[in-house]
Subunit: 207 residues, 4 copies
DNA sequence: TATGAATGAGCCTTCATTCAT
DNA sequence: AATGAATGAAGGCTCATTCAT
């Protein structure tokens, strides 16, 4: 569960030296862990700070609030999922389409391995009605819309593409979650196979 | 979003007169609403009490704590889902199987209409490690196991029944959620159709 | 140092029973004391709460913040000073004018006995630029303007009425303060005499 | 608002090179500004450090604490006011006395122009009960006592010299403050005239 | 049975001060 | 001599829960 790239921006426009950068990175990683363990509301800044082996004062040097850290992480995920979304190529009933779908699901899982806990927390009831609170939902909407477009492009007519897209994303997200948290007795590959398979078959019938 | 039957048990074993029953019922209903709007942690007793048009003191006459109310609701849902689980008959590639599945999905949606917000909150990270906290997860596990059993009984071998069951439940739950919260532009019937359809095709190929 | 009338309004529009009213009153009185002892910024809610023999939670039932309590007190003083301002009758070189002025100074001292600490805190540097922060300054401005008007009406020309008014208010406020805090070895009557006397002589020459 | 002479003593007894002196001077000036803007308690070291265009670490090379800086400034003002106090010559009903008083008020204003914000902050409630905290009050007391002595020496009997002295100082300080902060629509000369005039007339009758 | 006032532990946030470079 | 990162004690505020009426 390592956070690799995430730029992350300091509260104001300060320039950060290597040390500061490292500290902020530790906080981001700790955020993923703690939000994943307790959820946004129940997570205490104290937990995050302890996980990052730093102090309260330091936390607020880099993030304006607990929520700010969460949004920073959300933005990171949004970027990753945005890239992922755009990377879905043509799908279809044939083996190439199946391979494409499978590769895509595999890449989704990679993002999930890093940011899963953040994504899960998006569903923590109704992140209020602030623009930031809706960010998670927006990312998912965009994600779904793109998939629907691909399904439509593939000429699927036996099923409503929009609804199907939601259903698929739901399935992928939840199952990946169960796999990541080991609530399902199957390894990553197997789960990816099942997902790609089920998706393919739901859309196009048996391969 | 009305809570109809809910057994409802007072904090201790007191006998309740009509008025008390009424008050408790209002609290249960308010609980569903408020937990759905804000999640377990962010929900304030004050919100619930206001929604139920009663007072703090009264709340604690009926429930030992905020969590107690939540568990009461969870138990209600558990009962409902337990019944639902057991009601799933034989499924298979034929039209009878498809009808069975569709009817089952439709019944699931009924429960979801009443208790959706509670079910969603089950996913709020890490309901602690108390037995009650795990109740939600347990209910879902049982639900999934039963479905896996039915899938296995139907002779499906092209796909791992356990994994497939998780995937289906995930899909059903999430999509019903989107439909219930109107995040998906399709009416209840359409969504039920898509779900039953996709499930059937994932498991048995095209109908 | 007793706060008598001050309506004081609860955070929202709650109706208050006798007990609540009494608690709020204790908080207002405690506020005067503590703000007077430590100033607005250095005063801790904890101090106020202890002085009022109540708890943190209770404090926030009645006031949204420390500043809110302070503004409530400021509003009270503003009312009192507003009344006082309007009550200044005709002044002039004769004995009636002198008597009027003396009575007015005496009434000022009464207000000061109750709310002095709040008035002093108004001068705590630049209460920011919020409307509330400026309230204190505004009250004083109005107070001064009214006095200037009376001076002008009395036909004083040897001295700029506006400047003279500021000077008088300054003198009255500070000296009353020193008297109230016993930093000056003279009793209330003596100080009132000196003030009325000095004012009268500054404006109209010796009596 | 420039701090010119200020002895300036480093935290310990270090010798300071030109650069260090410069830095310390910038901190003293920044202190006057910031304390004036926000008061002693609300002023943040961060504000001062930013205003002086230096860093936290540097601040503590020169001053042991925020209060230390404040006391340094207070000591400076004390010196200036001490000189001023001693410079008040004979006053009396005649034109020489009037001229003396006027010149003295003008000199007071000069000090106030430089250190006004510090003097104002002296009134911030209860500078604790430390010797340093009382320094401001002590300076004023001494100032008042000296003036009272001069009044007594001038043979004034119609008014209590001690009380009159306090009243005059209060008037001078506040009015100078209003003039310095432009809360009064009159220029420096005019205010000085009014003050000298009012003082003279209060003590000795019309000139 | 119901109400609303009171309590206080707990969490978020700030900021004076110290430390490492 | 200077910088900026780090620290942690304090203090504001919230909210679950209890109490008195």
């Amino acid at each position: 569960m390592e956070v690799v790239g995430g730029p992350g921006r300091p509260a104001e426009g300060r320039e950060l030296r290597a040390r500061g950068l490292e500290t902020m990175h530790r906080l981001l990683v700790a955020g993923v862990t703690v939000f994943g363990r307790r959820g946004l509301h129940a997570a205490r800044v104290d937990d995050i700070v302890k996980a990052a082996k730093t102090s309260h004062g330091t936390f607020y040097r880099y993030f304006a609030s607990k929520e700010d850290l969460f949004w920073a992480l959300t933005t990171d995920v949004a970027d990753r999922l945005g890239d992922l979304t755009d990377s879905l190529g043509e799908i279809g009933p044939g083996p190439e389409g199946a391979a494409e779908l499978r590769a895509w699901v595999a890449r989704f899982r990679e993002v999930y391995d890093q940011y899963g806990p953040v994504i899960q927390t998006w569903t923590e009831a109704e992140q209020d009605d602030t623009p930031e609170g809706r960010l998670g939902a927006d990312v998912l909407s965009h994600f779904v819309a793109r998939l629907a477009e691909r399904i439509r492009a593939a000429g699927v007519t036996t099923i409503d593409p929009d609804v199907a897209a939601v259903a698929l994303v739901a399935m992928i997200e939840r199952l990946t979650y169960y796999a990541a948290t080991r609530q399902v007795p199957a390894d990553a590959e197997a789960v990816t196979d099942v997902l790609a398979n089920a998706a393919q078959r739901s859309l196009f019938g048996p391969t």
